[in-house]
Subunit: 451 residues, 2 copies
């Protein structure tokens, strides 16, 4: 198969979108617009609606000539045979959504992989090696509270028992992951393992979930890496006191101190070219006329590499101690009243190092995009780093992996209004198809050289 | 009765403290030290334990020769007759506590007033006019969510129906105030009104609930006024976004914006010599990897007078709009990344103007303290402004009123560890006794002049 031949294979935008919206009948969420498909999704992992989408996936891939394997995490692997045997080159993503999610996050990546099967079949293509389509279980971590848990078990990074024992965090908060698997009949017999179910490579098409491609006017993100991140919980302890009777100078105000820390973390991130965010903040005791004696907040810092994160964490640990002591950092205390000291404690919740995707996979995506866009490829594509985690993070630990991003409107995701245009969805699927087939050819070339 | 005579009347420190700790058997709270009385209090208004303390109050004041009247808010008025009839000069406070309160807030003021009765009786003093002791219902607002509600109804400032219909905010959150009154038998037959139950004056001894007297090394605070305060709820709305995929420049971060506002409110308070505090802050959606799109926080600002508060509110309304728009105020944006605008909305929850206590009452307290401390009065007393509200705020609207403060350890109150020394409690009771008797004499002098 020549590059010319590869470029002549076209995904069907209509079939892709029709199928995608068809499966979104299972778990339809909040309406936000007037069109039939202007609703979000609420399809929690291993729920009844997830089972319906899975059943569609199994039937559809079987009908497309695939052998379907289900492992003990409910991951579904559909494999279409090639000229020779060997680990399949996979494309895929996840069918589960956030409780208040959209129609594209994860779902698009699975449907684009299924569309690839249809294109291969209707063009009677026999690939060199088998081609696979995968649906990973509970990627979101929204029902069972570890994200990407099933690719994590498959990659040998998370113990199976840990995953099976997870209890749902959504109401009624009673079912374990293993019980949910059994209830919907997706507790497969196959060992959850990259040796039991090997992959030659893993490609994942996904919406960007951020505003970068849109602001750059690019159609395709060639994802070369995933940001490093670290999650912390901070406890700031001062002293409860009456708002009316306690002069500013006598206060150990845990919330004022936390406010300074949150602003300072933003300044440090600006300085170091990374991001820092607080998404959770709780305080005690919580009444209008009581200065909070205790504030707890989350801190999520992310950077291109571990070196930058090391610097950010070091600066924040040093400066938060100074802020808690009531001393100045960067003019925060300008025009403020010196008060009493607070204490600050750090807990590290999660550490994830930078991930570099595989050069062979990145090359196949780049060449595929060149095939799609021709002379415009430089203007319409961009290499980029993923800010969020995906199943591809875990697969990259045991097999060549990369990702393809398409723009989503206003960068909105994990929200019913998440939206990518049919054109962009189809472009992403087209680039995915070309990348998988190029990887298949690359393997054959390498194997040929080895003969 | 000469000043000499007045100064010879002594409260009993032992009886005062023994009685106080005796009634703290009803509603004993959290232990914080090794002594028998080293516990806090949890005596919610109109609870079973409040009923027991009330029963003790009624029995004790009746035994001390008082006539007891209970009104339809459960306020208890105990009156000891004088030489002539007329509205009694009252002393009193409240027996209810915070859910996690101490042994002195309110309780000391009632016990000091009861001790006054004992001193008058054992010295066979016949006052010019009747002398009263009052226990106000639900001062704390901790069970039924309006503070000082019963003195408020009595003073004609709060409708009786509003008060009766309050539903408890403490578990099980089912009982109304009127049902609670009926259940413990304190729904008295008398109209709740300053005309039905008139007071010639109202004196209240209270712990300071702040650190000022302690830091100044003063034993008695002569309270001349109560701060003005205003309570607001602020809503800051930005946009939920993924912490990993959203660059700092693309964020409308409601929490970062609120953090700047909280720091700025502290700076404005510093500049204007008032206080600003945030005691409640909630956010949505609340996950580590989502930038909050909505933050709600309380803002409590207090100042010596309404003029300063007007300036503070004006400055904050102006500057919060600028901060929400993403523009700089006072260097908050130094070293920060310009982001997207948020919206801010203000809701006014409560407005309380400055209260000036009555010069006659302040004079009686000052002279009483001079009687107690002699030449040391200047060094051991100080005029001061109350930072917190008390039932005396409402009584001052319809009768001459003032308050007496004593130090409390580290300024701590609304906390089990709230503590004042027996010496200071007795000094406070002594000044209260002298102030009430001086006021009684003052009335007689004025009445004499009127004959
Ligand atoms: Zn996803
Ligand atoms: Zn009180």
């Amino acid at each position: 198969m020549t590059s010319q031949d590869l470029n002549s294979l076209k995904v069907s935008r209509d079939r892709l979108l029709t199928d995608l919206h068809y499966t979104c009948q299972w778990g339809t969420g909040k309406r936000w617009g007037e069109n039939t498909t202007d609703t979000g999704m609420r399809r929690l992992a291993l729920s009844d609606t997830d089972k319906q989408a899975r059943d569609w996936f199994v039937e559809t891939t079987k009908a497309a000539g695939c052998t379907v394997t289900i492992d003990a995490m409910g991951n579904i692997f559909a494999v279409r045979p090639g000229k020779r045997s060997g680990p399949p080159t996979f494309a895929g993503s996840h069918l589960d959504t956030q409780p208040s999610g959209g129609r594209y996050d994860g779902i698009l990546g699975v449907h684009a992989a299924v569309e690839m099967l249809h294109v291969l079949n209707e063009n009677h293509i026999e690939t060199e090696f088998p081609i696979g389509v995968v649906n990973w279980t509970n990627e979101e971590g929204a029902r069972f509270p570890i994200s990407m848990v099933s690719s994590g078990v498959w990659a040998g990074q998370i113990p199976l028992a840990t995953a099976h024992d997870l209890v749902e965090v959504t109401p009624p908060r009673t079912e374990t992951l293993s019980a949910a698997l059994a209830r919907i009949g997706y507790n497969g017999p196959t060992e959850v393992s990259h040796t039991a179910i090997p992959m030659a490579a893993h490609f994942e098409l996904h919406i960007e979930q951020g505003p970068i491609l849109e602001s750059w006017n690019r159609k395709i993100g060639i994802v070369t890496a995933v940001q490093a991140y670290r999650w912390f919980t901070l406890d700031v302890r001062g002293r409860d006191a009456h708002t009316g009777t306690t002069p500013l100078s006598a206060r150990a105000d845990a919330l004022l101190t936390a406010a300074k820390m949150i602003l300072h973390s933003h300044r440090i991130a600006t300085k170091l070219g990374c991001v820092a965010s607080t998404g959770i903040l709780t305080l005690e005791p919580g009444s209008t006329n009581t200065i909070p004696g205790h504030v707890r907040f989350s801190l999520d810092i992310r950077a291109r590499n571990d070196g930058i994160l090391d610097k950010a964490e070091e600066a924040l640990r040093r400066d938060f101690a100074v802020i808690a002591a009531g001393e100045d950092v960067g003019g925060l205390n300008d025009g403020a009243t010196p008060g009493k000291a607070c204490q600050v404690e750090w807990r590290t919740d999660s550490v994830s190092s930078e991930i570099d995707f595989h050069p062979d996979c990145i090359k196949c995506v780049t060449e595929s995009a060149e095939g799609v866009f021709g002379a415009q490829a430089k203007e319409l594509t961009a290499e980029m780093v993923s800010g969020a985690g995906h199943d591809s993070v875990y697969t990259s630990k045991v097999c060549p992996t990369s990702m393809i991003f398409i723009p989503c409107k206003n960068g909105v995701s994990h929200n019913p209004e998440e939206y990518s245009t049919p054109e962009d969805c189809a472009l992403g699927a087209q680039v995915l198809l070309g990348a998988v087939l190029r990887y298949d050819r690359l393997r054959a070339e390498k194997a040929g050289r080895e003969y």
